[in-house]
Amino acid sequence: MDFPGGKVAFTPEMSFISESPEERAHCYRVLDEDGQPLAHSSFIQVSKEVAVRMYTEMVTLQTMDNIFYEAQRQGRISFYVTSIGEEAINIASAAALRFDDLVFPQYREPGVLLWRGFTLQEFANQCFGNRDDYGKGRQMPIHYGSNKLNYFTVSSTIATQIPHAVGAAYSLKMDKKDACVVTYFGDGGTSEGDFHAAINFAAVREAPVIFICRNNGWAISTPTSDQFRSDGIVVRGQAYGVRSIRVDGNDALAMYSSVQAARVMAIGEQRPILIEALTYRAGHHSTSDDSTKYRPANEIEWWRTARDPVSRLRKWIESNGWWSEEAESELRSNVRKQLLHAIQVAEKVEKPPISDLFTDVYDVPPSNLREQEMVLRETIKRYPQEYPGDVPV
């Protein structure tokens, strides 16, 4: 009888499996750094319509990031997180998914929401926490969520969404839906216990979930050399019995192809897939961070310019005759106008009413909360000047 786990070949030779492979796992890419297709590259053809849409959304994301970042610097919003350098991961992965696929984000994936139709006004409303914020002003900026777009609400906690994604995928599996779940996280997130828990559960339950790791080299100030000693994240797939691939995250076509292929496998074979997208966090961790304190300014600048995923895709669509300088300046100027307008509007909308402090803790407020609301309202009546005037009572 075999040991538990099945048949295994025995050997008299004692040898240890090396801690690192002879060669690092290869990284799939379609376009070279100049946006030209590599010879022999296998990729899913992208139509002009999809390619141009991907590009415009990447520009929109990039512009939104720049303008909202400035808005925080001006004190108009309290906090912001950019996705600079990760536009291809955001948009191309979203483009490869279907609307019914559920998204469990970390917090650096607003591009997925953007692709699905979240408007600039809706983004602004959440950042200002106004009455039109679907989150009812309860969380910090960039903690977006949209049930109608199948995008689960962002929470600041790292990697906690990953096991949720697996449970949701199991639900899709049991309901026999033609859909999968996609969850995103960074290199830092893969050190959390929830990552290991989730990927192991996904393998055992054979859940149709795609794990997309944005390996951007940094967890705030912590470089990947302080995060793990494995060959990145892709090698962990096999450790858990999960099929995996390493992809150039700054190559929109490679992202698009690999996510689409992963989706077919996840749903068709009812299994999890791990994608490690290599990239670089070209912006600071957040508006509370100054990354020049722990990495060279010229390194950041180089990634922002020479390795910008947005201009790389632009080169490809231009070489196909699908884009022009006119289209570029028109797009950027339009998006900029829309964003400034959205901010102006959002800034003037009042905040959610004080009653929203107490609702949704439970489905129905229990007696202790009803009592606390009464007491608070009396306190506000006695000391109105102590409380912000833009929160309606």
């Binding site: 469990f104 914020d133 679907y134 989150g135 009812k136 309860r138 969380q139 903690h143 969520g145 949209s146 049930n147 689960f152 609400t153 929470s155 906690t157 906690t160 990953i162 096991p163 949720h164 994604a165 697996v166 449970g167 949701a168 995928a169 199991y170 639900s171 899709l172 049991m174 309901d175 216990g193 929830d194 290991h196 828990a197 989730a198 192991n200 559960f201 055992v204 339950r205 609702t359 949704d360 803790v361 439970y362 489905d363 229990p366 007696s367 202790n368």
Partner: protein, 360 residues
């Protein structure tokens, strides 16, 4: 001692004698005392509740370590056979995964009944419970919720459990807005409360008193019934002092009440049942009647849930109180093995406190 008390207590079948007699008429009906019901122990009652839950909602699931063969306490016996291994299954040994996975399932509108093998092992899942499950609805502006999640765990002293098979961690969870905490005292209560928890649209932690799994036996109606959450129950009426407790501790408290009666002290005993959100009104009404309060729980006294009850009642009933609120609880130590009989809030300690409170 505990055995006979539990049996005697159990067979009284929980008369619904409470201030809420009429609003709990549903509860009274639910327990249908007019006909004979089969006698079940606590784990069989829970097993029955799980059967009914799985039977009545095809999108419900039971999972956790070792649940497939029936579970280490046999609460899940027969479920995998009847409902299949896709709905009743073993998970890897990972509490944070069990709860995180359960949240995802529940977020899709399923009823996810997650088992944590011992309450002592719930802590790896604490982040998922506190930061995720409890805040899932609120943080999303009610766009999403994981109300279908129920986490079950055996808790409490078992006679020989030591540090890691005896803990009562309820106080940690009572401090978390967004979840509910429910603890049944008997088989018939457990069945009805568990079904309510599973069907309640909020994530709930359900602690099962493991000492009573086999020891507590009573008649349990076979049909599908639910008992209300956040409604405490006066299970023994009295006029001199109010005692509040939950779970297995109630049978110990009841013994003390019986002994106190011999000394002419009339004790009113309340089963809180739901610790979060808890029924202050019923406890307050009782203390207005008696003027004295004693709370008892196995968990260590410092920071235990008794402190919350005491503070709230003092706020509400200060001028009515004839004596300080007494707390007879576990000591502030890890749960010891050979010292268990000294650690626990036993009948003699409770009886002494009843007398000193009444004689204050």
């Amino acid at each position: 001692m505990a055995t006979t008390a539990a049996r005697r207590f159990g067979r009284r079948l929980v008369p619904s004698v409470s201030r809420r007699r009429f609003s709990s008429s549903a509860a009274g009906d639910a327990l249908q005392r007019t006909q004979n019901h089969p006698s079940l122990n606590l784990c069989s009652a829970i097993n029955q509740a799980l059967h009914i839950a799985l039977d009545t909602d095809p999108r419900s699931y039971v999972f956790g370590e070792d649940v497939s063969f029936g579970g280490v306490f046999r609460c899940t016996l027969g479920l995998a056979d009847q409902f299949g291994k896709a709905r009743v299954f073993n998970t890897p040994l990972c509490e944070q995964g069990i709860v995180g996975f359960g949240i995802g399932l529940a977020a899709m509108g399923n009823r996810a009944v997650a088992e944590i093998q011992f309450a002592d092992y719930i802590f790896p899942a604490f982040d998922q419970i506190v930061n995720e499950a409890a805040k899932f609805r609120y943080r999303s502006g009610n766009q999403f919720n994981c109300g279908g999640l129920t986490i079950r765990a055996p808790y409490g002293a078992v006679g020989h459990g030591g540090h890691y098979h005896s803990q009562s961690p309820e106080a940690f969870f009572c401090h978390v807005p967004g979840i509910k905490v429910v603890i049944p005292r008997s088989p018939s209560q457990a069945k009805g409360l568990l079904l309510s928890c599973i069907r309640d649209p909020n994530p709930i932690v359900f602690f099962e008193p493991k000492w009573l799994y086999r020891l507590a036996v009573e008649e349990v109606p076979e049909h599908d019934y639910m008992l209300p959450l956040s409604e405490a129950e006066v299970i023994r009426e009295g006029v001199d002092i109010t005692l509040v407790g939950w779970g297995a501790q109630l049978s110990i408290m009841e013994e003390a009440c019986l002994d106190a009666e011999k000394d002419g002290i009339s004790c009113e005993l309340i089963d809180l049942k739901t610790l979060l959100p808890w029924d202050k009104e019923t406890v307050e009404a009782s203390v207005r009647k008696t003027g004295r309060l004693l709370i008892s729980h196995e968990a260590p006294v410092t920071g235990g849930f008794g402190a919350e009850i005491s503070a709230s009642i003092v706020e509400r009933c200060f001028l009515r109180l004839e004596a300080p609120v007494a707390r007879i609880c576990g000591l502030d130590t890890p749960f010891p093995l050979v010292f268990e009989p000294f650690y626990l809030p036993t009948k003699n300690k409770i009886l002494d406190a009843i007398k000193s409170t009444v004689n204050y």
